[in-house]
Structure formats: C-alpha cells, structure tokens
C-alpha cells in the first residue's frame, strides 16, 4: 500500500544524504560554471599580444575615452563574445546530438551540418569569388540548414525515425559526399583553397562582430528549440519504445531536436568555421558535473563549452607569439588529451 505523502515527511526532511548531495549540488555547479565563464571572459579580455590589467580592461570597457578602449572594444570584446557564443552553441548542440543518437561519440556535425556549411562556403568563394565575413556567415547558415534537411528526409524515407541509426547513417553518407565535393572544388582552384584553408581550421581571430546579429538570431531560435526538446531527450534516453509509451511523439521529438542542433551548430560554424572537440567533450564533462538529466545537462554543457573554447583561444594567442595558433588547432590537441584522460579513467558515460 502506498504511504501517504504526509507520513513521509520525517524521512523527506532527513532524506538520503547521497540524493541530497547530488540534487542540491546541481544549482551550485551551474552557478560555479557561470562564474567560471565570467572569469574566463575577463582573462580573454586581458591576455593577447600585450597584457592589459584587469582594472584597465574594466576601465576600457566602461569608458571609451581610455587609451585601452580601442584595443578592448576593437579586438578583444568581439573575439570574446564570439568565443562565448560559439562555445555555448557547440556545447548545447553536442549534448543534444548525444542525447538524440544515444551515442557518446556523437558530435554536432554528425548530421552533415558542418560539411554542409563548409561546402556552401567553398561554393561561395568559387562562384562568387567572395570571402567576406557576412557572405560566409549566410552561406554557412544556408549550407548547414540544407544539409540537415536532406539528411532528415533521407532518413525519414527509409526505416523511419524511431531509431537514431538511420539518421546517423544518412548524416555520415551526406557528410562524405559533401566533403568529397568540397575537396574537388578546393583542389581544382587555388584561390578557393587559400580562402578555404583559413576558414576550415576554425578560428576566432579576425572575425568581427559584423553579421553576428544574424548568427545570434539563429542561435537564439536554436536555444528555444533546445529548451523545447529537453523533456523529449530525457524520454529518448529510456529507449524509443518506453519513450513512446510515456506519450512522447517521436517524430516531433526528432524534428525539434534536429532543428535545434542545426541552428546552433550552423551559427557556430558560420562564425568560427568547423571547430571540433567542443561539442564532443563539453557534454561529457558536464554529465560528470550535473548528471544525465537534460534539464541540467544542456545548460551545463553550454557553459562548459564556453569555458573550454575561450581557454583554448587564449592558449592559442599566448603560445604562438606573433603568429598565433588557431583555437581549432589548440582544441584538437588539448581536447584530444582531455578526452583520452576521460576514457582512461573509465568514467565516460555510456548512453
């Protein structure tokens, strides 16, 4: 016989210590991550080719008359803002992708989004001969969207969407095709290659805030889809049959999830080029901090993604001397080491 909730009050007060610690810890972890993001952002504003003190940075931020204001506002603020945006987008998209596919190795680019963006950017350079920031941004957004719609349609035509496998296979196939076409164009035209190889590494340097409002709009809509997908992701984690049994509309869950992943990844790729490893590692770190409930996992992944991306960008500025190292390169090295460490400790979650 079920016990009346009131009769449970004494137990509820003392509770299970383990439960209380994990549950009560989650808001604190998010708060700590938020503070971590602010701290990293401040460091990102201070460090570069020349060091600016924290007080000078703050003075420059709020007083345009200061000498440092031009450096702070001209180069470091855009770079930091873009880094935050890219990191948050990739972190959240990565957590969504791993939840949708229940694959711990899933990356936000799995459904062809990154390959689509790259191909569109290359087409733009090849056909239009332009590599302006704004054109690149729109082309990348368009390419990413088209690629993911194609992937979704191919998967939906086949065995259906209840299993994540057709989506992943269709994504891999479309990605391979797009990468091949991209290589063909890049190898056949030297100017295209020159523009493409700078973009494809993934970098925040030289990116201005021009056009960022478009990416911000995409990312904002993507975040709304992500929030709307949270409970579906929790249900999908129980397997598609139990999810369906709990009243989950599988087609809608997939559509909303894919829309969120596409918009978030597209905004990130459009800004910085295809940066790897953040979308893969940030959710794993976040899962160890707050657990597998997507209500907490998605925000935590976004914050972890922002910290990781900014830290790697700062490292890249420092180790390269005058010719700095792109954040994409630093991430591959640092991210690879971190990932090996996670796997070696055997703590990687199996989804």
């Amino acid at each position: 016989m079920p016990i009346s909730p009131t009769a449970l009050a004494p137990t509820a007060l003392t509770g299970d210590p383990r439960r209380r610690s994990t549950h009560a810890r989650r808001p604190l972890v998010l708060l700590a991550l938020g503070i971590g993001v602010l701290a990293t952002a401040l460091v990102s504003l201070m460090l570069g080719s020349n060091l600016i003190s924290a007080t000078a940075v703050l003075a420059g931020l709020f007083d345009p008359a200061q000498d440092v204001a031009s450096v702070v506002w001209g180069s470091r603020v855009p770079r930091t803002v873009l880094g935050l945006l890219v990191g948050v987008c990739l972190g959240v998209a990565g957590a969504m992708m791993q939840g949708q596919t229940r694959n711990p190795l899933a990356d936000p680019g799995l459904f062809g989004v990154s390959a689509g963006a790259s191909f569109a950017v290359v087409i733009g350079v090849y056909v239009l001969g332009t590599s302006s920031v704004l054109t690149t941004l729109w082309l990348a957004l368009a390419g990413a969207t088209v690629a993911s719609v194609v992937v979704f349609s191919v998967a939906a035509l086949g065995r259906g969407l209840s299993s994540p496998v057709p989506l992943a296979i269709a994504g891999a196939a479309v990605s391979s095709l797009l990468v091949a076409l991209t290589s063909f164009l890049v190898l056949s035209d030297e100017t295209t290659l020159a523009a493409y190889r700078i973009w494809v590494v993934g970098s925040l340097s030289g990116r201005s805030l021009a056009g960022v409002d478009a990416a911000l709009l995409f990312a904002g809509v993507g975040m709304v889809f992500a929030a709307a997908n949270i409970r579906s992701l929790n249900n999908l984690a129980l397997g598609t049959e139990l999810a369906h049994g709990l009243g989950e509309n599988l087609l809608r869950a997939r559509l909303v999830g894919l829309a969120g992943i596409t918009l978030l990844t597209a905004s990130a790729v459009a800004i910085s080029g295809p940066i790897g490893f953040v979308g893969l590692t940030a959710p794993h770190i976040a899962r160890r901090l707050v657990g597998g409930d997507h209500h907490w996992l998605l925000p935590a992944s976004g914050l972890v993604g922002a910290v990781v991306l900014l830290v790697c960008d700062v490292i890249g500025r420092l180790i390269g001397g005058n010719a700095e190292v792109s954040v994409g390169v630093v991430l591959t090295v640092v991210g690879g080491i971190v990932f090996i460490a996670i796997v070696r400790r055997g703590k990687m979650a199996t989804l």
Partner: protein, 291 residues
C-alpha cells in the same frame, strides 16, 4: 486503505472509488483493452490475421506461448507501439488511434522488454520520468508529482535506493525501478513485456508478487508476457495461450494449463499437478529419455 491524499496510481479519468474488478469508463461492461479483427505484421510476414482478444478490467492477464508465437507482438499492439494493418484496438472503449499518444499514456503504461538505463541518472530521477504524460510546459513538476514518485518508490521498496545511480543497481533492483516508473505514470492499465527475464527465481517471485499487489491494492489492469507457465498460473487470473497466429486457449490457469493444450502450444509433454504450496497448476515436463 485510507482516504488520505495518497496517490492511488489511478488517472483522474477513472472515477474515484472504483475498486478492483469493478467497471469504469463509458460502459459498465467495457473492457480495458479489446482487439477486434486485428492484423499484425512485421515487415511483410503476417503474425496475426483477424485476432480478437478482450482484456477485462481489474484482472491480471498473462499471455503465454512458444517463442515466436507473437506474445510481445500482441502486447505492443495493445500499447500502440505497433500499428495494426487492419482492425482496431480499443482502450477503455475508445479506438486507440482516436486518442493522442499523451492521452493513451495517461490510461495505459507499457514496460518494454529492454528499456535503456540512462547514464548518470538517480533512481528517483528515473522514476520521475513516469510523470511525463501528466506534465506540460505550463504544468511542470509539482508537489503532487513528487508525492506520486514517493509512493511509487515506497511501493517497490526503493526508498532507500532513490539517490543511487540507476546504472549501479542489480538486475532485480533495476526491474523494480522500471516498475516504479510505470507506477508513477498512474495509468489504470499496465502492460509488462517479460518483466522477469534475466532475474533469478527469488527476484522473479519478487516482481510477480509486486505485480499482484499493484493489481489488488490499486485495482490496476495488468497484461503481461511470461515464459514460466507455473509462475504465470500462480500469479494470473487468466491465461491466454497464443500459437500459430491465433488464440489457442483462453481462461483460468486450471482451464488452460492442460496436457493437451501444452502439447498443442509448446509441443511439450507435461503433467499438470496442484502446486503443493498454493494449489495453482504446476507444469511438470515429462522427461522421456531418463525413464
């Protein structure tokens, strides 16, 4: 039972005070589930063609049959995980297809054979996901939901384990956690697909006693698939034997578990004797080789 605010694992759709076995819903004699002339197939192979099966409210009905006889197929069709090619499945007198998947989830809970254990999730969080059909963007997790989860954990004896990671539970504990999730769904009809698979005998008994208790104390209609015929006979009001694309037998355990039916359904030579411990039919396979 007392008249407290105790969650009773019954959906508001069922009138308050309707006890085990009594009718609710639109008509007094309405079945909890009814398949009418249903055709069920996977890919292109037809498993059932024109199946009729009625599940009475407030009873424990167990589907038995040889491997491949379509027990799970029927259960999935009742749980709308499989759409019939023809015919209709009715839930509480309504065609399942006319109800939204969320509305179905408030009336019927199904525990599939192999649910996935989500990573880094506590037992309590896992069980809380059973509240999904009662929640929406405008109606998030409430104290009532929390009380229902408490009651589900208590009913399955998991209160002490609610903070544990679900991935660290033993097979028996995990199965109880899944049943707690299904209980938290508060659906008056519960479908269980082989709930005792992979469990040792004492944990099988544990789960089946729990199922019996849920049926008796909460008036839940239970439909399950079991392999062990003697356990099925002991814990069910009614057995349905499936085989050859049809219902071979349908009735009380003593009516159904006869040597002739066992021979037809399972190609099994067996004696059926009264269980010395509780009087239910005990199926004893005859070993011809060692005679």
């Amino acid at each position: 039972m007392t008249a407290t605010s105790t969650p009773r694992f019954r959906r508001a759709g069922a009138p308050a005070g309707s006890a085990a076995g009594s009718a609710d819903g639109s008509a007094a004699d309405s079945a909890a589930l009814e398949a009418r002339r249903v055709t069920l197939s996977y890919e292109k192979s037809v498993i059932f063609d024109g199946l009729d099966l009625r599940i009475e409210r407030g009873r424990v009905t167990t589907l038995v049959g040889a491997n491949g006889s379509g027990k799970s197929t029927v259960l999935k069709a009742f749980g709308r995980l499989l759409t019939p090619g023809a015919g209709t499945v009715e839930l509480d007198g309504h065609p399942v297809r006319s109800l939204s998947t969320r509305e179905v989830a408030r009336r019927l809970a199904i525990l599939p054979q192999k649910p996935l254990t989500p990573s880094a999730t506590t037992v309590r969080d896992l069980v809380s996901r059973g509240r999904h059909p009662h929640q929406s963007l405008l109606r998030p997790f409430t104290p009532h939901d929390s009380a229902v989860v408490d009651a589900a954990l208590a009913a399955t004896g998991l209160r002490g384990l609610e903070g544990r990671d679900a991935g660290s539970l033993s097979g028996g504990q995990l199965q109880r956690a899944w049943i707690a999730l299904i209980l938290a769904q508060e659906a008056p009809t519960i479908l269980l697909d082989e709930p005792t698979t992979f469990l040792d005998l004492s944990h099988q008994l544990d789960v089946l006693r729990l199922v019996r208790r849920i049926n008796r104390e909460h008036g839940a209609t239970v439909v399950m698939v079991l392999h062990d015929l003697s356990l099925a006979g002991r814990y069910s009001d009614r057995l349905v034997v499936l085989g050859g694309g049809r219902v071979i037998a349908d009735g009380t355990p003593w009516e159904v578990l006869t040597p002739a039916i066992l021979r037809e359904a399972f190609d099994l030579e067996a004696l059926v004797i009264p269980d010395p411990s509780c009087g239910s039919p005990l199926v004893v396979p005859v070993d011809t080789e060692h005679r």
